[in-house]
Subunit: 221 residues, 4 copies
DNA sequence: AATGAATGAGGTTTCATTCAT
DNA sequence: TATGAATGAAACCTCATTCAT
């Protein structure tokens, strides 16, 4: 799906068995890196833990990615792209704007829930003020497709007289993101401050419903 | 204000000049640690950067806090407590529930904006699944006072017939927290995904107004 | 008993209550030091473990003994002197040379058994080629009284025609010391090489009897 | 000779030039460690002194041995094995039991004299109650071969009517070990207590003769 | 393409010791 | 006399990285 086949040094476009194995090794390292960086953050992650998790060795990381920082950037590119790819899969039913809106919220929420590594890596990246994202040309050109999908849904809803006329797409996008992301990213400390297990099925269901409701309340005509 | 005078080994409650200086040293270290941990995270923070920032030396950190992990726990206790203390300062006008609600949202938003270190440290703590919070007895007993304040405001609003009858306080608390926290915590990567500078005054004002509006829409009768 | 009231800096010869307390503190530190040095050796012993074991604080060690090395020397003097004092308590029955000889062997063996700290500290001192002993004037003048007691016993035994005429006292002293000391000092590694628990009551009894027998065999006329 | 080619993580059984160099590096570190640990004990030995003595660097010690403790265990295994290997070289002349017995005593005595590092390391190990030996599976299975050699000599001597019938091999082994080891291990403090230089050639000769004589006296028929 | 060996900088922590009341 | 505060050197160990097949 992804167009991100990495411009890193090696990995010729030849299709010999050897080249195939090389691509697999690179991929194993990348996936291991996603895992480990998401568990430990950039500073806490250890090269050798990654290489072991990839069933490879330290040296190969340098061979394929140059150094730890560039590996992290590759990880960022990979998880960002994963999100964008998923977005594009989303098939909205514009005939029913209410349902389409719910689809977007649900998709977002579920994606965060199922991709903790994405949430964790975003968190680390924000801690460092996106310093790694800024180093990737590829990432500079990224932009979420959801805003435009949202715009289409809103337009359809407005046309049908269901939604308010003065909806700001950016605000709506941020509202949805806030309501879905925060629950995932801050579960652990929220449990401290709220004295409640946010991770139970029932609580999650309740929160999902609430998020949808809140968004509805704020866009309805 | 704070009840957290941290019972770490040294520093008795005696009031000699020496003891006073000691308390100051400990405090300088703690503040430097808040700063550095919030900039670099637990793993990325360096003991010697903290001690230099505190105008002290590495050894004193171990003298007062035992080790890096316990220092981080002390930092957590300190920033958590700082938040709770601020909460308690909040004087709500229950006669005007709309205004009180806005006060709560504004307070929360501003606190996060002005205490980036709190947001950053919460982020790191969530990355590690609150493993440090779980080590502090003190933190185990913490719980935000805002929920109960919120409950009172809602009750008042309901009595005056201004607010819906079926408001769930937990949901409302989470809604407000989401809308205020996420903007602060994820500014940097949001800029990537939204292609927009979230940090401008005008955007911030706009977002603040939106957050208030969203909450209003969802609680009004 | 001991004449070793230490020439270390403080500890005036005044008899006020304060001076008494001071002497006690010093003594507590010394005893704690004997304990800790014997468990960990000079290099492995920690000043603060000693001061805590003495219910005192690091600073007092420097106050009373100057530094770690001088404390160790004081410890050496103390345990050496303890051994010499015990020797002098030994009342031999010269009328029965066989019994006297057994007394000496038994005393030596039992002393080592009951004073592991003496054995351990001697071991550490030998590791360092007695470098600390050589720093103590007092120790330079020490010399075991047992050799002369042994000489008297041997003379008596020879006069009664019980013992060989050509006994070398130094050799006999070394023989006895070897047979009694080695068992105590090397118990742990011997268990490795002999595949046997040397520490059982029965084994110890057997070895004690053997040692006596070996000595008898080598001195009898 | 040795069976102890130590299976520590790296250094596969490949025979490339590189692997050969690696084995040499590991060996250099091990030998340096024997030296330094025997001079300073476990606690007193410094990693960087070992690495410098090995013409290597600290990092390699961790690469090959994991940590200081495991290095010490490797040292223990090495010196224990060295002793066992030497034992096995011993060719006894069972036709002449007296001579064979003297051979054993002489071998033991000379081994200790010429392998001070063995004596020193045993001493340190006993100080810590063989805590490192207990961590080595290999060492757990060790057992000196001398006892069985001794048993054969004694049997031969008894058959020829030269030796007592009721000799306990364990006791005899311990007797010989005591008489030979103690002189080596305690030379320095003995000089203090005996006021005599035990290290002179003449004294050593005298003591060697005495040890042989003592053993003879105690086994002869 | 892959990997074992090597390295140096730097990280956390410990230690003996001194300062200042 | 006693003790809490402070310190710098150095200890063990880890880390990212490069070298050499």
């Amino acid at each position: 799906m992804s167009q991100l086949d990495s411009p890193s040094a090696p990995t010729q476009r030849n299709n010999s068995k050897q080249a195939q194995k090389a691509r697999e090794t690179r991929q194993r390292i990348l996936q291991a890196a996603v895992q480990v960086f998401s568990e430990e953050g950039f500073a806490g992650a250890r090269i050798d833990r990654i290489s072991r998790a990839a069933n490879s060795n330290d040296r190969m990381i340098y061979y394929y990615f140059g150094n730890k920082e560039q590996l992290f950037i590759a990880v960022l590119e990979s998880v960002y792209q994963g999100f964008l790819d998923a977005e594009q899969q989303l098939q909205l039913n514009l005939d029913d704007p209410w349902q389409a809106l719910e689809q977007i919220i649900t998709f977002t929420f579920d994606y965060y829930l199922e991709h903790r590594e994405f949430v964790a890596i975003l968190g680390d990246e924000n801690l460092h003020q996106a310093k790694h994202s800024r180093q990737s040309e590829h990432i500079q050109q990224i932009s979420s497709g959801i805003q435009s999908q949202l715009a289409r849904v809103v337009a359809a809803g407005q046309q049908q007289g269901l939604l308010r006329a003065d909806i700001d797409i950016s605000m709506l996008y941020l509202t949805i993101s806030s309501l879905t992301y925060f629950y995932c990213s801050n579960q652990y400390t929220l449990s401290v401050f709220m004295n409640q297990d946010l991770n139970s099925d029932s609580f999650r269901q309740q929160w999902r419903a609430n998020a949808i409701e809140v968004v509805r309340d704020t866009v309805k005509a």
